[in-house]
Subunit: 122 residues, 2 copies
DNA sequence: AATTAATACCTAAGTTTTTTATGCATAAGA
DNA sequence: TCTTATGCATAAAAAACTTAGGTATTAATT
C-alpha cells in the first residue's frame, strides 16, 4: 500500500547544483529534441554515472514553470497505457538555452578564477 | 538622512551563484589568511572585474553561520574608530575548504559533461 | 558648512528553489 | 503477490538569497 521511503543521493550532496536545474533541462532538450520528465531523471543519472540525481519534486514544478513562461511546449502521449508528457523547446526556449549556456560558461570561468587567483592578480 | 537606493548587479544576474557563496568565502580566507566582511565584497568585485557582487544581506548571515559551525574564528578590531570583524579559518574550516573546492571541481566537471555530451555518450 | 559617498556592521520580510514526503496509477519482475 | 520500475503530481518545510531597510564613522564633494 505505502511506498517505501528511500532517498539515495540528491544533487550530489552539493549545494552548487542549486540554480542549475533549468540550465540542465534546457540543455537536455537542446540535445534530444523532445523528452519526458521521468526520462530526464534517468538520462541525467546515466550521463553523470549516478553522481547527479534530480528529484521529481524539483523537476516537475520546474517543467511547469518553463512551460508557463513559453519556453517549452508539451505533448501528451499514451504509451503502454501510461501517460507521458513530452516537452520540447519553443523558439523562445531555444534562445533562452543559448543564453543559459552562456551564463554557465561565464559562471565556470569566474569560479575558476577563484580557484587560481594568482593568475588574475598582481 | 535616508540612504539612496541603488542596486548594481547582484550575483551576475545568474542563479548559478546560488549555493556557491560559502565556497567563495572559504576560498578567500584560504588565500588571504584573515579578512573582514566588507573587504570580501570589494575583493570579489575586484577579482571578477565587477561581474560578481556579493550582497551584504547574503554575506553577513553566511559568515555568522560559518562561525557558528566552527569553521571560522572572529577577531574584532577598531580601525579609524570603526569596527572590523576579522575572520579566519579554523582547523575544521581548512578541512571544509578542501572539501568544498573538491565539490566545486566535481560540479564543474559534471556540468562540462552536459555542455559536451557527445564525448561521454555512445 | 552641508550633503553625499564610502566604509563597516547588522537584520528582517519576502521570494525563489529545492528537499522531503507523500499521493495516484499501470506494468513488469521476483 | 508483493515489490520494483515507470510516470505523473503536489504540498509543507527548509535553505539560500534578494530587497530594503537600519546605525555609525570618515572622506569627499558641492
Amino acid at each position: 500500500m505505502h511506498k517505501k521511503i528511500m532517498y539515495v543521493c540528491n544533487m550530489a550532496n552539493s549545494k552548487l547544483y542549486k540554480g542549475s536545474l533549468t540550465t540542465i533541462i534546457l540543455k537536455l532538450l537542446n540535445e534530444s529534441e523532445k523528452m519526458y520528465g521521468y526520462e530526464m531523471t534517468q538520462k541525467v543519472k546515466q550521463i553523470t554515472k549516478g553522481e547527479l540525481n534530480i528529484t521529481e519534486g524539483a523537476l516537475y514544478p520546474a517543467l511547469h514553470k518553463l512551460e508557463a513562461e513559453g519556453l517549452l511546449d508539451v505533448e501528451v502521449k499514451k504509451v503502454d497505457n501510461r501517460l507521458r508528457k513530452y516537452y520540447k523547446l519553443t523558439e523562445k526556449g531555444n534562445k533562452e538555452t543559448v543564453s543559459k549556456l552562456e551564463e554557465l560558461k561565464d559562471y565556470i570561468k569566474t569560479m575558476e578564477t577563484f580557484m587560481n587567483p594568482k593568475l588574475s592578480l598582481e
